[in-house]
């Protein structure tokens, strides 16, 4: 297939823009996080705590230890971790949409800002969003 130079440039720009996105860039919507909050309470809270602060048998999903586990990885990594293994006693029962909503809730509770674009459902797209524990300096 032949792409004109302009189209190709758009691809490159889009890729570059995606690669530079981080959780600080408003990567989910407030509505998604709200839906995710209900889902979280139903599906996750009995082990991870209503406030995401963990329990005797499940790690916290907020705070220093959680952030250090995921800092430097991507939202796609976290998405797939949830999608393939959670809830622990019913792995694979949350579809991609619900998983994205729960993830939006987790991002929200961890202080990452909401934005106007919904969190994507596709792992490949989510892998373009980096998890940076520290807010980058303004460019």
């Amino acid at each position: 297939m032949y792409f004109g130079a302009g189209v190709l440039a758009l691809f490159v720009l889009a890729a570059a823009a995606q690669a530079s996105r981080s959780v600080w860039d408003g990567v989910y919507t407030a509505e998604q996080a709200k839906q995710g909050g209900d889902l979280y309470a139903d599906q996750c809270a009995s082990c991870h705590g209503l406030a995401l602060n963990g329990g005797e048998m499940a790690p916290p999903l907020t705070g220093g230890e959680f952030m250090s586990n995921w800092n430097g990885l991507t939202v796609g990594d976290l998405f797939d971790r949830i999608r393939t293994t959670m809830p622990a006693n019913a792995a694979g029962t949350l579809n991609r949409e619900k998983t994205a909503e729960i993830l939006a809730d987790i991002l929200s509770v961890n202080g990452f800002p909401a934005g106007s674009m919904e969190l994507p459902r596709q792992t490949e797209a989510l892998k373009q969003i980096s998890i940076d524990a520290v807010k980058p300096e303004k460019k």
């Binding site: 220093g64 250090s68 029962t93 524990a133």
Partner: protein, 696 residues
Amino acid sequence: MRQSTAQRTLVFSILLVATSAAAWSQSNGQPSTKSGEWPYYTADLKGSKYSPLDQINASNFNKLEVAWRFKTENLGTKPEYKLEGTPLMVKGTIYVTAGTRRDVISLDAKTGELNWVYSMREGKRAAIAPRQLSGRGVSYWTDGKGDDRVVFVTTGYRLVELNAHTGRPVESFGKEGMVDLKTGMVSGTGQQIDLEEGEAGLHSTPLVVKDVVIVGSSFKEGMTVKTHNNTKGLVRAFDAKNGKLLWTFNTIPRPGEFGNETWESNSWATNGNTGVWTQMTVDEDLGLVYLPVETPTSDFYGGERPGNNLFAESLVCVDLKTGKRKWHYQVVHHPIWDYDLSSAPILADINVGGRAIKAVALPSKESFLYVFNRITGEPVWPIEERPVPQSDVPGEKTSATQPFPTKPPAYGRQFLKIPDDLIDFTPEMRAEARDNVARYKTGPMFLPPIVGDSNGLLAALTLGTAGGGTNWPGAGYDPETHIVYAEANQSGLFPISLRNPPQGFSDIRYVMGRNGTDFVVSEGPGFGSAADAPKPAPRPRAAQRAPAQNVGGLTVQGLSIVKPPYAVISAVNLDQGDLQWQVPYGETPDAVHNHPALKGKDIPNTGQPGSVGLLVTKSLVVLGDSQITSVTHPRGAMLRAYDKASGKEVGAVLMPAPQSGSPMTYSVDGKQYIIVAVSGGAYSGEYIAYSLPSED
């Protein structure tokens, strides 16, 4: 086709070319750390975690590289992220448990190549078990003449013996290679529990000594129990050759047995738990076994069981041949803090003031090292009964006093001292921390739980209780220098609040929870994570999450409310009864390093929170970080070596994920290896073997 047992077993094995046993055999045909092996979970029967190997030392630890790795994620129906095993190495072969089905694997110790896998499909029995996931590992029995067996407890609480060479069940052991450990487990006054759904499990390794296999028991998490009358704990010994029951020790004494009267109002008959879930140790020569007994039901409310409740939270010494009690020491009376007895008792031959003493030293969540004469049970240094705060929870009657060892000093923080133990990186952080803790009841050690209220005092804010000090990984000991090395979590804040359970949930008056919040059931570690765990019934959506603002929060600006060091490693000299050194464990977490409010501040190493296991070699104490960090090295967690004499860090090697099981070491063909289990976060369970590059 009807199967003879409810479960199916699968063994994938490869016929092994017999390795020469001659190089390994001791005079008695038994494996030993002296020949470079690691034949017990704790290295030896004395709980030392000590190996005399010294090829890997301070001069070359930094050069360690991955020799091989074994990823466990395809064992079971889904990956495990909480791999806690410590492998054995006997005669050039590694044996350990792995995966969400708790399979047993045999690997070539030089290459990590898989020899065989044993997998028992236990169905519902495992899926609802109180102790799930891969467990801590296996044990080994040999007659010294080629009959070599791997011994382990399945998720569904069956004791299994496998032929170490083939991985196939030893037909002459029990019934088709297994003993159903649920048989003989009772509740109430002696009601046999259901073999499928009855509550009992274990994830520690059996204690194999001579021709005896000793097995403990454990139960569901005791925070929000449905009944105080659940399964009763016990310890049993079986004949290693045929699985025949040799003796039973009732950790809740029956009428006529010593200690029964400490369950006042006949409460022995209506209470359960009180198992032995951690590693036991044994003095083979004296013929004495040391049982670290845990908490009764429930963890935080004892109103249904007035009295001291022997042998809960007691170190019990029993006769190896008969299981009869020789002596005991209860370290917490009428337990309501989930202290348990978390760690393998360490057998130490020490010298105090010119007197040789055969001692037993017990590391603890309390960060006390309780030291006794292991023949008589007398404390080596006086242990004083001191008055402690009393409970005001209706129906609860706390013990007026609790035991406090006078020596050695505590090796970790035991309660939250206000304001001294609060975060003080900046005055603002300290002030915020003070405001937050004002919402809690605080006080000294043995601060009892309260009935918490969202509009009043939230909880009794304890530290060094359920998640404090030294937990299941235990400590280590150098038998030459008589020094115990222990890691202790110093930031394990545990707010304990009780509430009445929702109507119809439980027969116990108080469970963990807080008035004014939704009631949430707390399950056991890994509960619902076993390979075939069923899908739970849908729950009603919770109405409210805890308020977003940090009211009574236990963090300040994202950091722990507790002042560093978050955890410490200590060397405790058992001849002197003192602390030889103490250093922060691990390195400063990224969250502190990168905190905007701390920019430009010179903050000494804070250490990392967590309770992890360690390995003691000729010259090093080896243990890995509990957290991923990425400021001073590429993203990962470090496996670190500390100089035994000073505690100074002398080397480190990168792991891809935090240490989740205690490390071990062994030597094959002149090369020393260190294996550690890593997992957590994005990284599924993996055993990694490190060794020095060939030129070294």
